[in-house]
Assembly symmetry: C2
Homo-oligomer: 373 residues x 2
């Protein structure tokens, strides 16, 4: 079943390339290659590159010592021929030859500059553009199987959030908590830990604060934003806000606003509304409560084989939501020098509305320090 | 102390850029940015880019919501000014302005094509080349502090290899073993698991085989090649070969050859010999024993903030080894359809010779299945 889907992905990409006037897609290891072929190669300095012409047969160019691994991957069952290269060959020249005088090539957005510029020099007549605008049309709409992978990822990170209260007690550093969370992310079934944000007290005012040696104190609020990648290759991402012992009264006031804004934004998700309209729901509610200048980022991002991908839920994005799109809804409010709060769920657009892939409580979780210390 | 070192790194990079005729280095999140500034940003779709002109002051261009995290990182203490951009700004245009009509810009090798091509379009008069040839001169020679970070990484992965025999028993799949190893890598002090190769029986003949559902059997040999990244940002990488119950006689014959080849190659490392000479020591010994066509990859790769970086220990690399270079010495022998073996240590070039950062036994570790089953 998976293989049948994959075959169709290759021909759909070729059709979109033709329509965009692109002669060949050049795809190095990363989410595009995984999506198109199921091959999850380690991205190393030796060039691996799928040459997918707009018409004709794809070829994978790979280092000789990766040929066995590539053949054993799902790619091997798609009938894609593999061209191995030896340690003394020029793999960029080989890609150039296989692209046969292409005038326009589209490169996977994640391709490293090391490959981009060597391909530019090996194919001086080819205009390089990005493959993202072509492949987003495919990757943005998740199949039922992909939604199921993302649902499992959501369940796994929910299990981690359920354990977080046990890890928060006064005197521990953010880093100590973060290390325990990283282990829990793996234990919950992820294969990699992609990020662990534990932002306590005033650190919560920086949306992407990482781990510091600040020790947790009674009265702290703590923003915990965590995610990893599952064996399927699909990612999780969820944020909850906690308090140790109690939270200040002024914090509680805006936390209630945030909770309502996040819920109403999720409830506004359905096919044929714009991405920016979902942002506007959260933003206008927060602004009306007087915190408009403290919600300093967009409302969300798509998620799939990458943690951040299309569609972005941001002002100016008039793209219409469609069934199968999966993205975060994560408004936040940040008070510099004091604290911050964010609530984030991953949601999927269904035929008629929305379904949430994260389902732990949205209430502020107040940890009793007497239990944990 | 660390900060003083970092300051010198920036000015050394500027000097090398001038000498190379480069007007500005453009460095996005990744090992080059970490090396130059200590800032380990998450690489996201929003542009973060250090503009380091050949003469003059560096500026970090960063998304508004990352400014606090960047300031709080070591970068903030280097006096680098930070130019935040809002969700509706064009960050590529800002980098172009700050590069002030540069004719030649050098891009970090890890920069994603998404940024490379948008910078190309934002700065049409600037010729793009790679920063690698400039920065390698700095990154390749490790300071005493960097060697100490790598030594700690070596000790951590050694502790994992010491636990591997307990995880190998007949009936377990490679994937089950690999999952346990991934947890042990984190428990040993790494912050990320970078790769876990468990290649049993015939899978051992593929140097980069990943985890499969093949079940271990008595009489299997198992190549285990593992690594992660430490809190310091420095990487570990070590390979050992195990046998379950016993190993076939013909395997034992070539394993002895491999062990000698690896040892003699390590012993040949010292300042002022070429990188390729170390490869030649291992290769000629293996060839003399009749396995020359079964050693199908180079002997080693540099390691530091990346698992694979300069210098490469490969035929044709006449670069002279210098004190402070750190790289792997990892010959292997692969018999298609049957088995493979590899022994890998990370070594550092000292003033007069070599020091190994991995120190678990090089003997074939034969696991007693009666103990583990």
């Amino acid at each position: 079943m998976e293989q049948a889907v994959d075959r169709r992905r290759l021909s759909a990409a070729q059709e979109l390339a033709q329509r965009a006037g692109v002669d060949a897609l050049l795809v190095t290891p990363g989410p595009d290659l995984t999506y198109l072929t199921g091959y999850r190669a380690i991205a190393l300095e030796r060039l691996t590159c799928l040459v997918l012409p707009a018409t004709g047969d794809p070829v994978l160019v790979a280092p000789g010592l990766e040929v066995a691994a590539a053949s054993a991957s799902p790619l091997g069952q798609l009938g894609i021929s593999i061209r191995g290269w030896a340690e003394t060959d020029d793999p960029y020249g080989i890609v150039g030859e296989l692209s046969g005088g292409a005038g326009v090539v589209a490169l996977s957005d994640s391709m490293a500059a090391g490959a981009v510029l060597r391909l530019r020099d090996a194919m001086p007549a080819a205009r390089q553009q990005l493959a993202g605008p072509i492949l987003r049309e495919l990757r943005m709409i998740k199949s039922a199987a992909e939604v199921e992978h993302l649902r499992q990822a959501g369940r796994a990170i929910d299990r981690v959030h359920e354990q977080v209260p046990e890890l928060l007690w006064p005197g521990r550093t953010e880093r100590e908590v973060g290390d325990d969370i990283a282990e829990a992310i793996i234990e919950a079934g992820h294969v990699t830990v992609d990020f662990v944000i534990v932002a306590s007290g005033p650190n919560g005012a920086s949306p992407h604060h990482e781990l510091s040696d600040r020790r947790l104190e009674i009265g702290d609020t703590v923003v915990v934003d965590i995610g990893g990648t599952m064996p399927s290759g699909y990612c999780s991402d969820s944020t909850r806000t906690y308090a140790i012992g109690y939270a200040p009264d002024d914090f509680l006031a805006f936390y209630g606003v945030l909770q309502d804004a996040q819920r109403l934004a999720v409830e506004s998700v359905r096919p044929d509304v714009t991405a920016e309209s979902v942002d506007a729901v959260a933003r206008s509610m927060i602004a009306e409560a007087g915190y408009g200048d403290r919600f300093i980022h967009r409302t969300g991002h798509g998620i799939g084989l990458e943690t951040h991908e299309d569609p972005y839920i941001v002002e100016g994005n008039v793209e219409l939501l469609r069934q199968g799109m999966v993205f975060s809804v994560e408004p936040g409010i940040y008070v510099s020098g004091q604290y911050g709060a964010r609530i984030e769920d991953i949601v999927v657009v269904t035929e008629t509305g929305v379904d949430s892939l994260n389902n732990t409580t949205h209430d502020l979780v107040v940890v009793d320090p007497a239990f944990s210390s």
